[in-house]
Amino acid sequence: MRKTKSAFDNAYAYISVSILAGIIFILLDSIGLATSLRNGISYVFEPVSYDGTKIGTNVKEYLQNFVEMSEFMENYSKLKTDVYEKDINNAYYLLLKEENESLKKQLNLSDISKKYVECKVLGGNDSEYIKINAGSDDGVKQDNVVSIGNVYIGQVIKSDKAGSLVKLPLSKGSNFEVIVTERGVENAAISSSPAVLSKAVAIGTGNGIKVENISADANVKEGDVVVINDEKVGSYLILGYLVGLSDNPASTSKTGYVNPLINYDDLITVFVEI
């Protein structure tokens, strides 16, 4: 009895028995005989283990944020650069799209028998003029008409080597002979003989375009289209819609204003007829 006890007091004996026990358990589990034991332990201890694992994982993730801070910063600056690049690309594509749409308009709505120079608007001195990046080198001369499709933009008043100044129709001193026609011409090219409701004169006031001398008995109404028919321009080009029509029965003529088809501040691509 004493011999047995002393044998089990020996650490190596314990280790040997333990290894044997470990191997037996592995064999039992591999043939499925320890399933009940597994289920029992799992039922009792899995929730405790789950909580411990969850807390450990959360703490690890939290600490990992500090460890990976430099990587985060690096990724952040990289993403920032990517965003800038995408913004630049986006702006470039928007410009291309705008140019594409302008060219489509020009092809569909302008007089294709004439020659045009495509140019970009660089900005203006004030709201009455715009600068364009086409000049005498491109064949642009004074009094050339600037348009997009069949919409009148202005007339070149000064042309230099690489740029020109364009006078918008709303500038003071601008005046054109115009005709007022019914709506429907904006969706397609102007017909060779539009139904003229009245002849009139369009005058730039600095901040708008006033239409005067509309025949008092003409059947014009708000929203009719004002089309330039002036020898200075040389072709039918739309100016805008008629708005703010006066209604004075005592007057011999009617007056109104033009709501331009295009916002002159948002112009990017225009075409100069040369």
Binding site: Y14, I15, I19, I26, L28, I41, V48, S49, T57
Partner: protein
């Protein structure tokens, strides 16, 4: 008194399971083996091996290993430690810590290989990364065991420095 010990043991096993899972997911270290190596030759063999066996079985189930994997791995590492203890002192000194660190290193390296073998009959390859991770875990385990020694030093009986006063 026996009932009280039983309650302590059950509560301890639950707490141990919690800590084992927490540290395993946090640092990848095995608290059971750290404590086993810490208490080795300090408490009664029968109590130590029995508790270790139970804790390892629980760890096997919660880690979804074959039953006995953790215990067998711990025993193999312990054999390594015992063999080294023949040639080097494991009681005190820097050498004793180095020996323990090697034991931990063997344990964590085996823990990469053996579970896969028992589950799939294929050994997981021991790569440089595996060895690096094992070394990192061994160092952390060694730090924990040193801290345990320092804390336990306060509870040691005067005149019997190899045994821990448990209650």
């Amino acid at each position: 008194m026996i009932v009280l010990k039983l309650i302590y043991t059950i509560t301890g096993v639950f707490l141990f399971t919690f800590l084992e899972s927490l540290f395993s997911s946090l640092l990848g270290i095995n608290v059971a083996f750290i404590l086993f190596l810490f208490l080795y030759k300090k408490v009664d063999w029968r109590v130590l091996f029995s508790l270790m066996f139970i804790v390892c079985l629980i760890a096997d189930v919660t880690s979804h290993y074959m039953l006995g994997t953790n215990f067998l791995t711990a025993m193999l590492a312990l054999i390594f430690f015992s063999v080294l203890s023949i040639f080097f002192s494991t009681e005190a000194g820097i050498l004793s810590w180095i020996v323990r660190m090697f034991a931990f290193f063997v344990y964590y390296s085996l823990l990469f290989v053996l579970p896969s073998f028992f589950l799939n009959r294929t050994f997981a390859p021991i790569t440089v990364d595996v060895l690096k991770i094992s070394l990192f875990r061994s160092i952390i385990s060694l730090v924990i065991i040193i801290l345990c020694e320092i804390v336990a030093g306060r509870f040691r009986k005067e005149g019997d420095k190899s045994n821990i006063k448990l209650g």
